[in-house]
Symmetry: C2
Subunit: 348 residues, 2 copies
């Protein structure tokens, strides 16, 4: 299939594709795949939920705005999901990732391709999701799908772009073939580490952006925060083996912009409430879950300290979250740092 043909919309002959995860993102991806003519089987844990989605043709719980297209079926049978397609898109929350990867691993063969779309690192181990997949499955042809992809906007058919990173051109091509279309452009890359680090790190900056918004500050302050946050992201990424140029792309600054513009994001909300004077404990008990950015901040702060990296924004967010430093004071500390060359510490 030539690149030009891939760009012309629905394929004449659809392929089976499996999506693991029936949340908003899995459902939106199923809609894109179905629009491209593919037959999609979506795995979700709860059989009653799957039955209800199949009958009502709507994922009321996670993406009620979308009318489910005919070629999408939900199932709670993981063996069936794994048999359905050689290509598996795995989009589940990071906290349940290892357990689901392990269950899925029981049904996968060396022929499978797994592309995950999970943003975050594993708590405790600090591992990237591709590392978890290598431990829990026999699959080696792995990839990551990431970028500025708010599910509700994808489901509404608004133009979007994403990044698929894999060391295997075959994996890039497989994801591109089924996903790329006029409403959802797929860009490709080999830098898996960069793509995964970016997806996790951005939640720290989103939290800080929530603080900036909560303090009523404007576009200059937000742009300064995001730009310097991008710089810290690139320096952490480089220390982990990423290509810093990934961070100037969809996985990095692209996702950062979309996430930080979305006041509905949990990380942004935590930041905003901290700015209003609430405590982290109070916010977390009200939310009944820990925002991804809170967990990632601790992990990145520990990594930076171990590597001797100077990451002022990460350190400031850490002080606010872990030591209860007032946000206004943390911001003042950041602004009081000595001046530096813009690209100091950035190696490429």
């Amino acid at each position: 299939v030539s690149a030009r043909k891939q760009a012309t919309g629905p394929r004449e002959i659809g392929k089976p594709v499996t999506v693991i995860g029936g949340g908003s993102w899995g459902t939106a991806l199923a809609d894109v795949l179905s629009g491209n003519g593919h037959s999609v089987l979506v795995w979700a844990r709860d059989p009653d939920f799957c039955k209800q989605v199949n009958e009502t043709r709507s994922n009321e719980r996670y993406l009620p705005s979308l009318k489910l297209p005919p070629k999408v079926t939900f199932t709670a049978d993981m063996a069936r999901a794994a048999r359905h397609s050689r290509l598996i898109l795995l989009v589940v929350p990071s906290h349940g990732f290892r357990a689901i990867a392990r269950s899925l691993g029981d049904h996968l063969t060396g022929e499978h391709i797994v592309v995950h779309g999970t943003k975050g690192i594993e708590q405790g181990t600090q591992k990237r999701m591709c590392e978890v997949l290598r431990e829990e499955t026999c699959v080696r042809r792995l990839g990551v799908l990431t970028g500025p992809n708010l599910a509700a906007e994808i489901a509404a058919g608004q133009p979007a772009g994403t990044l698929v990173a894999s060391h295997f051109s075959e994996v890039q091509a497989a994801a591109l073939e089924v996903l790329h279309c006029h409403r959802f452009r797929v860009y490709t890359a080999t830098d898996v580490i960069g793509a995964e680090v970016a997806g996790a790190f951005k939640n720290i900056v989103a939290l800080a952006a929530g603080v900036v918004d909560g303090l009523g500050l404007g576009d200059n302050t937000r742009a300064l925060l995001l730009t310097r946050g991008l710089n810290e992201m690139a320096r952490v990424g480089a220390a982990m083996g990423a290509d810093i140029h990934t961070f100037g792309g969809l996985a990095g600054i692209g996702d950062l912009m979309a996430t930080c513009s979305s006041p509905l994001s949990r990380n942004h909300q935590v930041g905003e409430r901290l700015a209003k004077g609430e405590t982290l404990e109070g916010i977390q008990s009200a939310m009944r879950m820990v925002a991804e950015g809170v967990k990632t901040t601790g992990a990145v702060h520990a990594f930076a300290r171990a590597k001797g990296l100077d990451l002022p924004i990460v350190a400031a967010v850490h002080r606010v979250l872990d030591e209860g430093q007032p946000v206004a004071e943390a911001l003042a500390d950041l602004m009081a740092l000595p001046p530096s060359p813009e690209l100091a510490g950035l190696d490429w």
Copy 2:
């Protein structure tokens, strides 16, 4: 003066600093300089206007929100302005830049340092502002000040950061010494070309972002546009001799974010009105002036064609502006492009 001392706020002994240009940005910079303890002389063309600002202590025409601090004086006497300080900040619109640089040049010596804050390239010649300054003055110690710096937010005292780029560390140090403080962080760099190209190119993307907003599209589409716009900016910059890493910083993505978030920007307004179906002629005659992005698009499009660069967003904006292509069709064309590796064509 150590870096740490510079960061502690107002200097004990102020320096004289000259600002050429009494618009909103010149006035906001004068406020920052004055806050740092310096005595600021601001040149503006109209003696009556200067008299009024000095008497009312307010620049009613361009920045009415700010109460002018005591150490700021406006003057229409350029010789006096040039004598006032060795360091001159030149912040005038790009269309009047050469004429003012020429007048200023009559009063400058080889001892002067000129840092300009003008975003745009010269119409007709396509020259960068530092090139114009080299032609019109004897000054060689030149620099550029650029970044996400909306004047009204700076004047309101909100935290911001900026980039000063110069080939001379002495120029970087001079600007940093008088400007850097707790509300206005100065980052330094040597890439003058990158800083100037970014400041001009961003107006093209701001125009396109206006279209996206005018079409009612969301955060995914905007993030895709800005990220791919940044990619095109970096490729043009590299072809002009810039360091692509400048574009991931304050002059590039930082300014792009702030400009594209500001619906008041003239470029954004043009895009929004194009999206509503107005013609460029109609918009321009209603605005009684040409938005910077309109002029820059033509220049960059011509440059890209001459160099054989493939810049899809620039080409699409050019088709809309110059050939009257409907914006929805231009967007559809962009989305229908063949897929590509994300970093294709980007050399570093």
